[in-house]
Symmetry: C2
Subunit: 293 residues, 2 copies
């Protein structure tokens, strides 16, 4: 791929910047999506698009999914050759410009900002041999109106991610203010116990990841695995047979250690391996499909 | 004042926009201040500046207070004649540009965005005859790391403000997820009971307003009023003799009704009137001081 990344468009205009009156800037008043671009295709695009539009609906942002899709297609078409393009795509939709004050503007013209960034460079060993985590001190406040949405109010995550610099720690686990396990700073978490999957209830806090949904609704079903969403404590995680992380960019990573006093260690187990292989096969199949965008 | 408002500078450059990579835009990763400009002076500027810098410190944003002051002075100097300029000033400081992901950038160059907006046009009757409030359905999540800071993660406030359009409702009361009374969407709240002031504890949620601090530390002392910060329920408010709102722009507004089923009504009482008069005298005195900016 020859195109110099990142390339970013704002409402379809390459290189445009954002008004200081944009409510994304003034209040974090919007949502975002982070998607993987593989050989010019976006795996699970339907799920990303659905979540983006659902988030906007919950925040009362009247965005056109067709317009988002058009701007996205225009930008991806700039990558040459498109069918070999691997990258990360970030889409931000905000409530657009507004005046001073929280009141919704009378007329809303959403800002649709799309960026194409270089692929994430993760060590290959992460998906094979697993990663280490820590437990963050930062807690997530709970809010049932905002839970699950990938909105732009991310200060808790910024402060949590600022807690460690150790490159051997791949991510940090986040608990809510009631000490429920929720997720990691940039991924969702699953526990495997007696051959079934368990993942935290996100009705009070957290981001309902696209890969989490794909694992729960498609991959686990194809492997005949039970899946339970439930309130989980960090102890529930420590008692698991296997633990893994997931998101749209990294796929599935086994967790082999949660660092602490004491450390909690896990094996890279058969269920995680099977899910990872099935995901890889699905992604490979998607690459052979026609270019949709 | 002849200058057409708003005028906005970004890092000292008039009319500049914001990078779509700015972490204020991508994560709400920053803080803001809203100040009143009266005859070219900013009352309580020292308090605004202090809170801005304390917020940045808590968020690990290395901003120079001197630089903020310089950009502010440059912008205010554009108003002619400066010593008659009445307006509202909004200052936003973010962590500046960053890459994808929550990790703090290796080098941080904060974005300092300053806007001067037309004065707020509130009915004069609000400060004399009082205002009506409602209780919002939206709840504030609690987070002791973020509580008190005027940060840019304001979706809860946006959704709360979207709950009503009735022009007779001046503001909406916000409770946290534990049903503690915290504040209103754009102001702090005080109850007067037996001649003493009570205002909600903000250690878990809410914005510690500059006018709230001035009332607690200066105005109440001059009037010999006791002040208690405590966990308050909405019932504690209903049992008060007087209730008032405050912020840097509106000053002090008596609350005469919290609408609901049933409505709760309050008289415009002597303590609120005395505080309002003292504040007005203080502000008038500030206008006669030399131009500091």
């Amino acid at each position: 791929m020859q195109t110099q990344l990142p390339i970013i468009s704002v409402n379809g205009i390459l290189g445009k910047e954002v008004s200081p009156l944009d409510r994304g800037f003034t209040y974090g008043d919007g949502v975002f999506e982070t998607c993987r671009l593989m050989s010019g295709r976006i795996p699970l695009w339907n799920r990303h698009s659905k979540r983006l539009l659902e988030g906007c609906k919950k925040l009362l942002i009247p965005v056109s999914g067709e317009l988002v899709q058009n701007y996205l297609s225009q930008l991806v078409a700039l990558l040459a050759p498109q069918d070999q393009a691997d990258a990360v795509i970030k889409i931000i939709v905000t409530r657009g410009q507004g005046g001073r004050g929280y009141r919704l503007p009378d007329e809303v013209v959403p800002t649709i900002c799309i960026g194409i960034f270089p692929s994430a460079q993760y060590p290959k060993s992460h998906s094979t041999y697993g990663v280490n985590l820590r437990v963050c001190d930062q807690r997530l406040g709970t809010n049932s109106h905002l839970a699950g949405i990938k909105h732009l109010n991310r200060l808790e995550y910024v402060l949590a991610r600022a807690e460690w610099a150790d490159l051997d720690i791949a991510d940090g686990l986040l608990l809510d203010t009631n000490e429920n396990l929720i997720e990691a700073t940039s991924s969702n978490i699953f526990a495997v116990k007696d051959g079934s999957l368990f993942t935290p209830d996100l009705s009070g806090a957290g981001v309902a990841g696209v890969m989490r949904g794909f694992i729960m609704e498609v991959l686990s079903a194809e492997l005949g695995l039970g899946v339970s969403v439930k309130k989980m404590s960090i102890c529930d995680l420590y008692l698991a047979d296997e633990v893994f992380l997931c998101n749209s960019i990294l796929g599935i990573w086994p967790v082999v250690k949660v660092c602490g006093a004491p450390d909690h260690v896990f094996a890279v187990g058969p269920t995680t391996i099977a899910l990872g292989k099935l995901l890889e096969a699905k992604l490979s199949a998607m690459i052979r499909e026609p270019l949709l965008l």
